[in-house]
Subunit: 294 residues, 2 copies
């Protein structure tokens, strides 16, 4: 729960965190609604005090209808009307959007992308996601699912990705994928092993860096952004293995003018980016600026 | 030279084709100006009859300033003020834009993308290029160089590309690259050899198809377009090796909703697409719609 205090960064005044239920989409809706009420209580507020509500969700989803098309990591969340179900549960409009869209709005309005009208937001975390902002407008696509940058194939072969494809940037460079490929619980352990000289870990990380380099070069050549804002736990903890390779690849391999006009920067808003972004996005959407926000 | 006759497809009333001079950018400007005058003469017209002029050029370039940043295949065309130099030579404003932008405008207004506000134009020809249109707006980027889709790296390794990088879709799938890699003059000969069962040709073409598949899947996941319009000589002559692999890769590997909402179609306007598109683009730019044209 966030109190919105003007155009600056919203202030978090209450919060409640829960494990995601594994027993289906209905259980997830109930848990979100219950968590929302608990967050309000922790802030000494009630539903009647709330002007606008938003929910950040994994995708692909349609932000216009609030329908989550696919969410491989949420049990039972397929073609699910999340926005409508949350609205019923809470008795108010709930703006649903992709977690990366919420994060991009957050970074654009209050974070590392302030002032930029052409930028790409990328999160390298458990998975790899993103959003494209061009001319101050978030690129949405014809069904609102645009932005799945982690599933741009950047290799002609490679391990199977969670999305069913192969060669995806995510399959080669996201935290969960690196950990699985090395056979450990957390990506951190792969980086630790590489630092100790483990050759298998080094090879996996070199491949991840090459994939991130390809993605960065491609985005610079295709989109000519002013900024690539990189967030997510892996980027935060291993910037020299995430931002570094992207910068070096752009410098060495992208066209000269777009390479010279882009900076690769760390996201500003940290782990609360989707929470802060959701408030900002909800404010924009309530004001009728769902697609145009800069 | 094209007579503009309303909102329909412009009618070509005069033309003049020349070899591109290899002796530098000044010579290219003189030759374009001379060719423009000859085209006018062939149509029984003069410079004074011309309301608007446009020039389609390879890039990356800045359509706003008319400066061509880099054009690897045009001798001496580096950081060159093509628009200004043509304006001086012809005594009138000349709108310069990327050949793929002219083609995308042409297909959008009068060709295969009529009615689509979210589409990608791709040309598979000597080289591989493209443009992105999102929400009726051509995606330009911060310096106007966006759209170099042929230089999205889709492989972790591969032969050196003309742009200096490697793994680019162009380096694996464009006509000149295929021909060079097989050691012949024209891409057509590689397809002929593959049809006769030449294993090296088959392998090169399979790799080209895999690269096109990666590019198509990535564009669908990242941009969620309604259409991918594919033009260019290779696409025209070998649709089953260009559009086919793109369609199959999208069907097999892209996210379900964006895959179901996109069609891969052949460009409509043929070899004159950039000529027709230039007229339409010039009309739009003269009307102040340089970035917004749908």
């Amino acid at each position: 729960m966030v109190a919105h205090t003007g155009p600056a960064v919203p202030r978090i005044v209450g919060r409640d965190a829960r494990q995601t239920p594994q027993s289906g989409a209905d259980a997830i809706v109930l848990e979100i609604a219950s968590s929302a009420r608990a967050a309000l209580t922790s802030a000494g507020a009630a539903l009647a005090d709330v002007a606008v509500a938003a929910c950040s969700a994994p995708g692909p989803l349609d932000f216009r209808s609030g329908v989550v098309h696919e969410a491989p990591n949420l049990a039972g969340m397929v073609a699910f009307p999340l926005g409508q179900r949350l609205a019923e549960a809470l008795g108010m409009t709930v703006f649903v959007d992709h977690d990366t869209a919420m994060a991009a709005v957050g970074e654009a309005v209050a974070g590392a992308a302030r002032g930029a009208k052409d930028f790409v937001y990328i999160t390298v975390s458990t998975g790899l996601g993103g959003q494209i902002v061009s001319g101050g407008r978030m690129l949405r696509g014809v069904r609102g699912t645009a932005g799945e940058l982690g599933h741009f194939p950047v290799a002609l072969e490679g391990p199977r990705c969670g999305c069913g494809s192969f060669g995806c940037a995510e399959s080669l460079a996201a935290g969960r994928n690196l950990a699985e490929q090395f056979g450990v619980e957390r990506a951190e352990l792969v980086y630790d092993a590489a630092a100790r000289g483990d050759r298998r870990a080094v090879a996996l990380i070199e491949r991840a860096e090459a994939a991130l380099g390809n993605l960065a070069v491609g985005l610079v050549n295709a989109l000519n952004p002013a900024l690539i804002v990189v967030g997510g736990a892996v980027a935060e903890h291993q910037p020299e293995h995430v931002l570094g390779p992207m910068e070096r690849a752009i410098e060495a391999r992208a066209f000269r003018v777009p390479a010279a006009s882009v900076r690769v920067v760390r996201a500003d808003l940290g782990a609360d980016v989707a929470l802060l972004g959701s408030v900002l996005a909800a404010r924009e959407r309530a004001a009728g600026r769902g697609e145009w926000f800069l």
